[in-house]
Symmetry: C2
Subunit: 199 residues, 2 copies
Amino acid sequence: MRGYAEWMSKLVDALTKLPGIGKKSAERIVFHLLKTNREEVANLSQILLAVKENVSFCKTCHNFSDSELCHICTDAGRDKGLVCVVEDPKDVISVEKTGVFAGVYHVLLGSLSALEGIGPDEIQIAGLLRRVKEQKVREVILATNPNTEGETTALYLSRVLKPLGLKVTRIARGIPVGSHIEYTDQATLSRSLDGRLPI
Amino acid sequence: MRGYAEWMSKLVDALTKLPGIGKKSAERIVFHLLKTNREEVANLSQILLAVKENVSFCKTCHNFSDSELCHICTDAGRDKGLVCVVEDPKDVISVEKTGVFAGVYHVLLGSLSALEGIGPDEIQIAGLLRRVKEQKVREVILATNPNTEGETTALYLSRVLKPLGLKVTRIARGIPVGSHIEYTDQATLSRSLDGRLPI
């Protein structure tokens, strides 16, 4: 790259492969690293590799984990009878951050998509059914995304889960907290009316 | 951190120490790293450490370099008689990117600042004077920043360099290319009028 020494080119190249990091941000990071202490850089370098080496999927819920079972599945304080089904490990973090969910998760690692040819066998549905049958699951909360693929997946799951005699729920779709009815799209507002609750 | 496994906390912590990376960006990077191939992560981890281990300052110009002399100082194609003085290694990259400068650099690694108590001995001025005396330097271009510290530094340098009998120039300050006179601040516009050139 113009203006770069070879070592700088290499590091900028490697950094710009990361999401959200352009050339300018990469340059700033390089200069920060050059000015910071050696330990901080060694630490970052080491953790990067360690995470890549050790982190894989939890055998039970398919969340990312650095051991056979993830920190949520092995937490004795979590309610194993309540399973929240999400599409992606990122969604686990989002739900965890709310701090209101005390159950466990099941990560599908995708969603049903006719367009992309992703059927029930391509995502982690079999494992969910096994869990529900083998463990005492009282309720499954379907927390897939409120888009075409997510709704399709939720519908499919509700159909295969309900016959197993447990409670199946879907997270509420409605107007986001802090937003305005005036600016809410029609689909969301319709859902919000349909999903009204007594106060 | 709430919602994170321990390994994730550690990596997010290490990433958010980098400039321009907040928690959300760090999360995105972690998920990218988990999904990308092992080689890319190993490569990044390795380069980070290698750069920190090997990159120091060029003995001649004080630019960052992974060898005793930087890639610009060792380039036989560069005009050693023309020295561009900048405050920071970042500025070298900026000038290099223009592609119009064929001389060499001298990085001061700072600027004179009465407020912060930074005098001529705290920045790399002695080395510049030595270079000018020992090598056949025809012209020194003062490319310090057009702010109080940069202007002070340029003024000081011009005073100590001129008696050595070489040409000392200052980069032009004026309205940026592509901007509007209407929106240009008074100081810049004044400079731009003072620095007018025949066309």
